[in-house]
Symmetry: C2
Subunit: 342 residues, 2 copies
């Protein structure tokens, strides 16, 4: 962020802000290409995949996925593990028959069914899942084995938090606002052989091939967000890449869950096997203290801890950008609050 601030009015002595550059000029092209190269390097993305820098967030991917990936088929498989899965399913149902492979609704999105209880459909055009549910804090421990059907993952909240084997996926997408950069950018990593056969009536802008053929510059992209994402990629490489981030992120999550589990005052309802590294929802034993908890936390610069409006309580989002010291400070605050009010 400091680098972005310094470069804001004059990028590398050009006399221009990144915001003022033509997206087709040599300066911006170098920024865009470096960002893609760094992301490919960080995630180990092979040339079999296109990397697209799009707009519209993950929510625009919900219709784009069936429009692009049904490829003549009529059915798709979806896991339902939380609010975001449900949204993806609702939108896909406008375009195809959705088979729900496993449904965590009955357990209030606190656990995921065992593999043996999944109902995978061999005629599905693809299998969609949400590796991490940001609202409920429910996360797949492993990449699902789906018998060769293209696997599609909404990686918005876990991308770049740890290494991932991209070759196991048909497509990965991620809204940038969690682990990448500012809102308004959506990254799509898609196997090239899956593109090009869209549903009739698909707008040109919703066809992945359009963007792949034009280096994500069919129209003006979200240039400044793309630039900021590039700064994050470069920063991650300097930190030691995704292995190093995984070590830190796992330690952050372990500490916070441990603080919750060893207390009678705080609670998290999620199955130990499927707890999110990124989003830790928790409740206070007495919910009438919620407001006071948030007020006192804010006084210590512990911000945006209010739980999602669908769930209430608290939620600590501990993405890459949250340093370990931030988690330590939260835990210390929680202990002190419990001592005073528990």
């Amino acid at each position: 962020m400091k680098q972005a601030q310094q470069e804001m009015l004059d990028w590398h002595g050009t006399g221009m802000s990144v915001m003022e550059m033509s997206h087709r000029g040599p300066e911006y092209t170098s920024i865009a290409e470096q960002a893609e190269a760094d992301l490919r390097d960080l995630m180990g993305i092979s040339d079999d995949y296109a990397v697209l820098f799009l707009q519209g967030g993950a929510s625009l991917q919900f219709p784009m996925i069936p429009m692009n990936l049904l490829r003549g088929k009529k059915q798709a498989d979806y896991f339902n593990t939380g609010a975001w899965s449900t949204k993806a399913i609702t939108e896909a149902q406008r375009f195809c028959d959705v088979n729900v492979v496993s449904d965590s609704t009955p357990n209030h999105f606190t656990t995921i069914a065992d593999t043996k209880d999944w109902s995978l459909n061999s005629n599905a055009a693809y299998v969609h899942y949400t590796p991490n549910e940001t609202i409920h804090g429910l996360e797949f421990a492993d990449i699902p084995e789906v018998n060769g059907v293209p696997l599609v993952a909404d990686l918005s909240s876990t991308i770049l938090s740890r290494p991932i084997d991209v070759s196991k996926f048909g497509m990965i997408y991620a809204g940038a606002q969690k682990n990448i950069g500012p809102a308004g950018l959506c990254i799509v990593i898609i196997r090239k052989d899956l593109m090009g056969d869209v549903l009739p009536g698909t707008p040109t802008m919703l066809n992945y091939q359009t963007h792949a053929d034009n280096g994500s510059m069919f129209n003006t992209p979200a240039t400044y967000s793309w630039y900021l994402a590039g700064l994050v990629f470069a920063w991650l490489k300097k930190q030691g890449g995704l292995e190093a981030m995984a070590t830190i992120n796992q330690r952050k999550a372990d500490k916070l869950y441990s603080a919750i589990d060893t207390s009678d005052f705080y609670a998290n309802p999620v199955d130990l096997r499927y707890r999110s590294w990124m989003n830790v929802p928790f409740t206070l034993a007495d919910s009438s203290l919620d407001k006071l908890f948030l007020q006192k936390a804010a006084q210590q610069q512990l911000l945006t801890l209010k739980g999602h409006r669908d769930l209430g309580g608290m939620r600590a989002s501990i993405y890459n950008a949250m340093p370990e010291e931030g988690v330590d400070a939260l835990i210390a605050f929680m202990k002190e609050f419990e001592r005073q009010h528990g």
Copy 2:
């Protein structure tokens, strides 16, 4: 830009960057609401219209317009006055019968047919036009009279450059990257009674009603771009609003065209009645000097003057952000270049 730079790491003492805020938190809500209020004030937008802050650029509007505005009809009217009109038409043809009201292709987009030669269709669901064509520098002098059919305008390159009577339009849209702010934001101003009746198969994200019902926060919007747009709106109000900008912009354009027209070395082919205030394409008498012209201009910090790849030559884009002194400097440079090489 300087204000954005100062506020980048800590917005108004909150300890947060705008990029780090929850888009549903009170801090960001105040930014978003103020931006909309200032835009409504600047443009005189009544409560009969929704103002939406979307993503995807004008190019995503090209399919959204027929998907949302056909409302049971099968035909739409389009003016063809340049590259952007043509793109809008090509996309609309996927969804309806397009009647071209007047076509400037035969005159190489250098003039617009007289009103008496327009073929308006009374069964059209709407009439679409591009008030200013950025590549060819061709601009409508007045708002077309279309006999009560909803008028839709791609105002990307002229929005906020002068006052406009919004009540004459069914819908206005504008990609932000010309006169508003950074790329990645698209503003839509739409009459409320025109929303809600979309084509079957329209994705939820491409339905204007979705965004109107959710204050443009159905999903995470391009928060930072929206904030920067708000800074621009506040800045425009301080400059004296759109009347003041119109005075400056007209003077800038008049000066530059005058410099071109009084020279035998530079030329602009557009009909005097339809010359753009914003984009001034011009050619040198000897195109082999183009490269030298661009090099020498860059040495004087006169940047991004290269003409669009479809047209060649030069193009001076003199949007709101270009001060009058910038145009004066360009004219002085052009005279000196002509003296040396003409």
